[in-house]
Subunit: 310 residues, 2 copies
């Protein structure tokens, strides 16, 4: 069975890693959000792409989920000393990725080629594709400060401003990266990883052609909201600020029309009947992934469930 | 007594550091070659400027003379793994300097302002000025490969090609950086540090106005050639390849017309009479600087000698 996984940052990377432990490279393609990408200190940063690549390469920091394991911070200590910006932390190992990527992008290489080459160097065999090679910037509309670039909202201001909406600047001109539509068209099913629906998955499916390609496939999403809370990140806060009670149900409704099936955590069993009203199949399981084995276990549950959907 | 020192990389930085140990900040300005500057991995690198700043800040690697002490190499290990360029080694601490400088240059700040701010952050009180804020690129003409950018010749090809000449690309449009001419005009004497005459000092005095400003002052040079050899770097090899026997005499002749006095090492005492024929005063001393105390000792000798020249 061929699977395409749509992923954002840490949560998405974890399930993608679980799937990659089971499926051979030819049966799994991971399509990653690049709406979080931004320029910082003159470097082109692709946070979600790096998190997914580092996680699959076994290079990710196990404590934070993002950045590199065994990281050092010498470069940033000097920049701090010089009075430079340090609100977005880049470790020394991680910086090599940004420097080399920025250098190649400026020479004209597409992000998807660079990602393919980096993955090869890191020993990642499963294809990891940015959603697009074109610039798309997630903008967060806030009540207090108007529109903020995503990382300004997310990292610099620690998600404190009140969200009133989102815009994916440039998405109307963006085309899916080479291989994205082919991967979806060749897949049997699309798995929407437990990533933030608003800022991790929506940017991906807003790129022209991706949503409609997904719609021809069996699509299953895993809720990133468990017991009304996000495992990590601001998803629950965003739902609340947008006037929606954060829950697995809210996530299922978010993707309504696209989903054939939905997976949510056992702590949310009480929502089962309401979710079933959306006319989608459901699987209730333990969706917490605390370690590599739990990623694999959830991925197994997902794949077993997907098999029942045909 | 107010001194302006002209300096290139390691040798110049050592004497500048010696002078800075004796003279208060208001009595010493160091003007540094930027002809070695280049762009690498998208970063603006100023090798001589950094060597002088790091040396005066006490941050320089005592073993190499360039780069930072207690350096680590994590960023470059990742870049190497990714198949990127690593022929010019940049340590993690050092990289902070290049990242922050590149970022500020791209925002439009002049190199001289950036250098002033960095020096302040590093606790360097003596003014260190780039010769110019404009782009000047030392090009090395070689018999085998034609013209090579300086760092390509110097670092990438380890000075192996045979030199047939030099060109300071852009120098005809370059103006001295803010403060350079003022410092020379306000000085009592100009000290040409024991740096490579061809590629460290010549670029400085080729910038419009610098040589003629120096000519109105007492000028003394210290030979970087000792016993026919360069303490460090390709100066002796360059002299040979240009058909000139490398010696303190050759250095004195190099600066003929500009110099009032010349300092060379005791091992070259035999050259005394020939050098005196150039109608300049001479001081013979121990010009090797193996540690901080020896830098100070040579600086003392230089200053004592300069006093006798008025």
């Amino acid at each position: 069975m061929k699977i395409v996984a749509l992923a954002g940052g840490v949560g998405g990377a974890k399930l993608a890693h679980g799937l990659a432990q089971i499926l051979p490279p030819e049966n799994l393609t991971i399509i990653v959000n690049t709406g979080d990408d931004f320029e910082y200190l003159g470097l082109k940063i692709s946070p979600d792409l790096d998190t997914v690549c580092y996680t699959l390469a076994g290079l990710a920091n196990p404590l934070t989920g993002w950045g590199r394991a065994n990281e050092t911070w010498q470069t940033f200590e000097n920049i701090k000393k010089l009075g430079g910006q340090t609100w977005f932390q880049l470790g020394d190992r991680d910086l090599g990725t940004h420097l080399e990527r920025t250098y190649r992008l400026k020479k004209g290489a597409p992000l998807s080629n660079i990602t393919r080459d980096f993955c090869k160097a890191w020993g990642v065999e499963h294809p990891i594709l940015p959603m697009t090679d074109d610039p798309v910037y997630t903008m967060v509309n806030t009540r207090e400060q108007g529109e903020l670039p995503f990382q300004e909202y997310f990292v610099h201001q620690r998600c404190e401003p009140t969200v009133s909406g989102f815009r994916f600047a440039g998405v109307e001109k963006a085309r899916p990266a080479k291989g994205v539509l082919e991967a979806i068209n060749n897949a049997d099913a699309v798995v929407i990883c437990p990533s933030n629906p608003w800022v991790s998955i929506d940017p991906i499916i807003t790129v022209a052609g991706i949503k409609s390609a997904c719609e021809t496939k069996v699509v299953v999403a895993i809720s990133p909201i468990i017991g009304g809370k996000a495992v990590k990140g601001p998803a629950a806060k965003m739902y609340r600020e947008l006037g929606i009670q954060p829950s697995a149900l809210a996530v299922a409704k978010h993707y309504e029309g696209l989903l054939d099936a939905f997976i949510f955590d056992q702590v949310d069993e009480v929502l089962k009947d309401e979710i079933a009203l959306l006319d989608i199949k459901t699987l209730i399981t333990n969706s917490i992934m605390k370690n590599s084995d739990e990623r694999k276990r959830l991925a197994k549950d997902v794949l077993k469930f997907v098999h029942t959907l045909f």
